[in-house]
Amino acid sequence: MSFNEWLRQDRLPHIYCAGCGNGTIINCTLAAVDSMGWKKEDTVFVSGIGCSSRAPGYIVTDSLHTTHGRALAFATGVKMARPDLHVVVFTGDGDLAAIGGNHFIHACRRNIDLTVVCMNNQIYGMTGGQGSPTTPRGCLSTTTPYGCTEPAFDLSELAIAAGANFVARWTSYHVKELERAVKTGLETPGLSFIEALVQCPTNFGRRNKFKKVADQIEYIKAHSLLKAKRDRMLEQGEPIPEDMYVVGELMKRSRPAMGIPKKEAAP
């Protein structure tokens, strides 16, 4: 089976803008899901509101497109009621970290067996380019017309601190690494959080001096810092530049998890 079979071909073309990075993340996620050999009837996609959250509408499985910020709470209900189902959540930076921040930290704390894929475009895309909790300091948006003055959230560090079993960050440039990380997330019991930095040419790029889609991808690539390298730099006492995104597998552990089918539960 190919990941194309997970797509509702009759729902295409999708609503995403030309050059949007979300399609890349959806492809990587579906490729990882497909490689698990899961049955479609055993898999549920859940999302909140925003560009990222329209993804389940293009996937053939049962899917819940819910309210803004609440995807993880809905997914918790699905997973706790039917632990045998595989539940994957698509979300974005505004959905997850602003309006849904409380559900995010508590889903991580519970370490409920969900795989959460966050398309972090650092902007509210669906509503036309407002600043989000991950908009970098100094960046322009319609609600930060003089440059964002607030510090940005590090979503992956937040997930680690809150207790998630697996946390990885990659970007829309690192497709192979991203697919592998999602797969590891799907395989890992407990909450798996995969953050994917994505370009948003329409609402982020054009206001922040990225004239072409490729310019922003180049920027994201150039500002990605492998975790291993970051760790070496820390060891050697080198300062980590503030504008770098640490990418890689940031956490993998086996804390007790919720929502595990009884027959597979650890003794």
């Binding site: 009837e41 055993d42 819940l64 497109h65 309210t67 209900g77 699905v78 559900h103």
Partner: protein, 366 residues
């Protein structure tokens, strides 16, 4: 064999839910409803069900809706402040036609108000609290027995009509203890059957679509956006939106007479009380104290949809007297249908009307 117990109202509600097959409870502690969550936390795991204490009430109702899509009978319980927080997702449940039961043990509002005192201030909120047009079913218990019976009934109605159903209790009924007779079993009707291969949101003859339980390979997309019969977003189609919202309202409003649940006392009376919830008890005391006075009484259990046709049963009515623990929320609804004056008898503060207070109203109108 039936058995007799001496229970608190909130415990009776939880037991009624368990008897109805509720197997998922997502909740958050709030006075005066907390005993329901505590009882479910103790009992559900032993019945193979799931109790989960969520991080807030938005998450509680969200988890309930998620669980409901897996086919589970699912509920939550709360009071005013938590009820307000649930409103957006209650609209989502109405729009996506997700069966769920929400118990609201009402306390004095607005805001934090009177956490330990009774009120009926959320009667309009339960009907209209979420944005947009939709319809729901709301039941109002007036005894510990009805906390049990109507909670069980709420699950059947939620399934049959695929709609959020509210048990609009209040602190007095929730915390009162009295005798209750537990039936051998309670009726258990299922959700309308889904025919595989048909559009998942195509309504049946009762305007309700069959329920495509998740995990069966139906591949149903559920969205709070305006959607077509296939469940896909169609948010800019004016005709489709109008037809969908109209159906969501009509499936409940057109069943108003079928859903009606009320008792009639002295239908030939000229002075007629109308009550629901704990004020029923005060009216019953007035009737008990004045057995020869031929006072009429319409005692309502299904408040929404409002059983307007019940008013016409009182052919000689000169006026309807409506005691409520709010400033006349349902009295205003009664005024929409009544052909005679409606006397609202509001009471705020958390205490019930006294029989004397209601008797004075009668005397003034005699």
């Amino acid at each position: 064999m039936t058995r007799t117990e001496f229970w608190q109202g909130n415990i009776a509600s939880a037991e009624g839910a368990l008897a109805a097959g509720c197997r998922f409870f997502g909740g958050y502690p709030i006075t005066p409803s907390t005993e329901i969550a505590e009882h479910m936390a103790a009992k559900l795991p032993k019945k193979g069900g799931v109790f989960i204490q969520m991080e807030d009430e938005l998450a509680s109702i969200a988890s309930v809706i998620g669980a409901s899509w897996t086919g589970a009978r699912a509920m939550t319980a709360t009071s005013g402040p938590g009820f307000s927080l649930m409103m957006e997702n209650i609209g989502y449940a109405a729009m996506t036609e997700t069966p769920c039961v929400i118990v609201n043990v009402q306390r004095g509002g607005p805001s934090t108000g009177q956490p330990t005192m009774a009120a009926q201030g959320d009667m309009m909120q339960c009907r209209f609290g979420s944005h947009g047009d939709y319809a729901v079913i709301a039941l109002s218990p007036a005894s510990v027995q009805e906390m049990y019976d109507l909670t069980a009934k709420a699950f059947n109605l939620a399934d049959e009509y695929r709609v959020p159903v509210f048990l609009m209790a209040d602190e007095v009924i929730g915390h009162m203890r009295e005798r209750i007779i537990i039936p051998d079993s309670v009726a258990h009707t299922g959700r309308p059957a889904f025919v595989p291969g048909t559009p998942p949101f195509r309504p049946n003859e009762n305007l309700v679509p069959g329920f495509p339980v998740f995990g069966n390979g139906y591949g149903t997309h559920v969205t709070g956006l305006t959607h077509d019969e296939r469940g896909f977003p169609c948010a800019t189609n004016p005709q489709l939106h109008a037809a969908l919202v109209k159906r969501l309202v009509d499936k409940i409003e057109s069943a108003s007479e079928k859903l009606a649940d009320f008792d009639i006392v002295n239908p030939d009376a000229e002075q007629v009380f109308i009550a629901y919830g704990s004020p029923v008890r005060t009216v019953q005391q007035v009737l008990h104290d004045h057995p020869d006075s031929s006072i009429g009484f319409l005692r309502i259990r299904t408040v929404w949809p409002f059983p307007a046709h019940a008013l016409s049963i009182f052919k000689n009515a000169q006026r309807f007297i409506v005691p409520e623990l709010n400033l006349g929320q349902i009295a205003r609804e009664i005024e929409r249908y009544a052909k005679v004056p409606v006397v609202s008898v509001p009471k705020l503060g958390g205490e019930l009307h006294t029989p004397k207070e209601l008797w004075k109203i009668l005397e003034a109108g005699a």
